[in-house]
């Protein structure tokens, strides 16, 4: 009773196969280059609509406002990569900036190092609690967000703290530029390159990605999941501190409501625009660079093109959804929450 085998038409099969392969390759290219393409396209549209934008150092403006966003986003991307989230990193940035403004005068060149050490410790505290108390990171960092925010408010005395002296140690980061690109942004790009190298070519990075893709699988493969979580959060704190330094470089002062006080959402948006998955295991720090540039470009572009200031939020919201719809990697049967 063996049934006869009915051959399927080979012609159909081949076109189908090549189409599938083409789609696969296109998807791969888009995942690698999508964020850059989107930024360049948007930038070109703005440049064509308003040629004066390019002449007026448009890219420099975008890059300098992208620098703190990029640094915060890189930390966020590393945390998202392990399948967690850090809602506190922007408040760490602000606290770091305020601490830097307070200590730069008395401590001089040591001050940035001290501040970076402190913010890294703040990040590590998040990591230790997430790793050892095994609490959901969203809720935990929402809590520590409140704590760091209050700390920023109290430490600054709820006023603007100006750098009393030694400002010259930091400001060149903002005022000097390489080929029209401010050093603050170059700092972000270097950090992104290092993060990329870590994720692609070190066991620590591989372990982090393994946690994001399947934490149980990572545990049973002897990946030191707790240690790596603490490392990821510490790096998020460290990057947030670098962002704080760029803020002082730019503004020369810091306050709990001033420049950089609303970096959290742009930071998350930049990480996601850069192709980072909210559910973990997928990120490319190099693409986060373009994510940050895009996030910085949107408000500048709307203003330059002449869209009413009132419509900026609306445009921003629509663009967030559109860009993610374009860049998100989706598998057919995945559960989307």
């Amino acid at each position: 009773m063996t049934s006869t085998i009915i051959a399927t038409e080979p012609a159909v099969d081949i076109t189908k196969q090549s189409r599938a392969r083409l789609a696969h390759r296109a998807g791969k290219f888009w995942r690698a280059g999508g964020p850059a393409v989107i930024f360049v396209a948007m930038f070109l549209v703005v440049a064509i609509l308003t040629p004066a934008f390019l002449g007026g150092g448009g890219f420099t403006i975008v890059a300098s406002s992208a620098a703190p966003i990029l640094l915060v986003a890189l930390g966020q991307a590393l945390v998202l990569n392990i399948g967690s989230i850090d809602l506190s990193n922007a408040s760490i940035t602000l606290l770091g900036a305020i601490l830097l403004a307070l200590t730069l005068g008395p401590l001089g060149a040591v001050s940035p190092l001290v501040v970076l050490l402190m913010v890294t410790l703040f990040g590590a505290v998040n990591g230790v609690i997430v790793a050892f108390a095994q609490v959901p990171s969203f809720a935990l960092t929402l809590g520590t967000f409140g704590i760091f925010q209050a700390a920023a408010l109290v430490v600054s005395g709820a006023t603007t703290v100006y750098v009393s002296q030694n400002a010259g140690l930091i400001t060149p980061l903002y005022t000097s530029a390489v080929a029209g690109i401010p050093l603050t942004f170059v700092l972000g790009v270097v950090a992104a390159a290092l993060a990329w190298f870590m994720l692609r070519f070190t066991r620590v990075g591989q372990g982090m990605t393994a946690i994001g893709k399947n934490e149980s699988g990572a545990i049973f493969s002897a990946v030191r999941t707790r240690k790596l979580k603490i490392v990821a959060y510490s790096l998020s704190g460290f990057m947030a501190g670098l962002a704080g330094i760029t803020i002082i470089a730019q503004a020369g002062s810091a306050s709990s409501t001033g420049l950089g006080s609303d970096l959290l959402l742009p930071g998350i948006a930049a990480a996601i625009f850069g192709g980072t998955s909210i559910s973990g295991g997928v990120t490319n720090p190099l693409n986060v660079i373009f994510g940050a540039l895009t996030v910085a470009l949107v408000p500048i572009a709307t203003a330059v093109i002449g869209i009413a200031a009132q419509a900026q939020n609306l445009v921003y919201g629509i663009i967030i959804i559109l860009i993610v719809a374009l860049t998100l990697t989706r598998s057919r049967n995945a559960i989307i929450k």
């Binding site: 935990l140 925010q149 934490e215 909210i278 445009v315 919201g317 998100l328 559960i335």
Partner: protein
């Protein structure tokens, strides 16, 4: 493979011994399951109330109770919607945007200082409708375009805020001119303000829906395991859209009530509510991963945070410290809840 047939033991009796052993250990845990967390919250609430009553005699008064409950009402209304959303494992970040859009629409279509039309009841309808529309958009983008709710509602936050900003325009702050509207919220009926009764009614309805309807049970099922829900033939996408519509509607209602409370509106009328509501839901014990929690837990979480804020103000603590204290309580609450379940293999995201 024929051993099973050769064996002369009755498999029923033999294997149930193992199961029964297992069940015994389970039932011991069971007795406290689901009760431990709410009991701890109620305990914490009682402790807080006692401390604050000692610190300031004005705390334990009827007027302050009315105060606390009306402060808790808006987060509770938003929390009802947020609980549905979180129970399916999603999140709704668009709260403040939806509140802004609905609040501005409501005030501009009611009798207000800028003039324009007074549509009466239709102002309510229009404002709720915009919340429902934004909620539906959230749900549809989530289910059709398959973007994570975190991102969709994140974008919708700005879209709602944008709609509010555009409608608000550049004119002077529009305030409500109809006193009946501005006083309704705080008008005291049977001991408590209207808004408290409204929030309580919504809470009860939501509790019943969760317990006694197919929709409610499906919400829990989807949160527990969406894949299974789908393969069981549940209309998961439909339910998700409905849940986001409920959340949008609740946020819109909160936006209207906030505008009525203030007697005026700006696009930022919802500012701060998201970061009260989500901690409250989480402190209540509803898991962000979905499938676990409920409306009454949310109510407890909201009450705890409101009592804390109110009590600290009355105790004379500087408002600068407040976000730190609510943050610390959130951290303490989730750590306490997770502590007993720690294990080498446990996954928490």
């Amino acid at each position: 493979m024929d051993i099973t047939l050769k064996a002369e033991h009755d498999p029923m009796t033999t294997d149930t011994t193992a199961i029964r052993l297992h069940e015994e250990t389970n039932s011991r845990r069971l007795r406290f399951r689901g009760k431990g967390e709410p009991l701890a919250l109620i305990g914490a609430l009682i402790v807080l109330i006692s401390i604050f009553s000692i610190l300031n005699p004005r705390f334990a008064t009827l007027v302050n109770l009315q105060n606390i409950l009306s402060q808790a009402s808006l987060p509770l209304i938003i929390g009802v919607g947020a609980t549905f959303v979180i129970l399916i494992g999603s999140i709704d970040l668009s709260v403040e945007g939806v509140m802004g859009a609905a609040g501005v629409v409501f005030v501009l279509l009611s009798a207000n200082s800028r003039g324009g039309h007074d549509l009466g009841i239709w102002a309510w309808v229009a404002a709720i409708a915009i919340g429902i529309a934004l909620g539906a958009a959230n749900g549809l983008i989530l289910t059709r375009i398959k973007l994570p709710s975190f991102i969709v509602t994140f974008g919708m936050w700005f879209i709602g805020l944008g709609i509010a900003t555009i409608l608000y325009g550049t004119d002077a702050l529009p305030s409500l001119t109809n006193d009946a509207l501005t006083t309704w919220v705080s008008h005291i009926a049977f001991l408590f303000p209207n808004v408290v009764w409204l929030a309580a009614a919504l809470l009860i309805v939501a509790t019943l829906v969760l317990r006694f309807t197919i929709f409610g049970r499906a919400t829990l099922a989807i949160g527990n395991n969406e894949e299974i829900a789908r393969s069981n033939g549940m209309p998961v996408n439909k339910y998700k859209v409905v849940i986001f519509i409920i959340a949008g509607g609740m946020s819109a209602l909160a936006g209207i009530l906030a505008a009525m409370q203030l007697g005026a509106v700006s696009n930022n009328v919802g500012s701060g509510y998201l970061f009260i509501t989500i901690p409250a839901v989480v402190i209540g014990g509803t898991a962000l991963s979905g499938g676990k929690g409920g409306m009454l837990q949310t109510a407890l979480g909201v009450l705890l945070l409101t009592v804390l804020n109110n009590g600290l103000v009355l105790a004379g603590v500087s408002p600068d410290y407040q976000s730190a204290l609510s943050g610390a309580i959130l951290v303490a609450a989730i750590v306490a809840a997770a502590w007993s379940q720690r294990g080498r293999l446990r996954i928490a995201k």
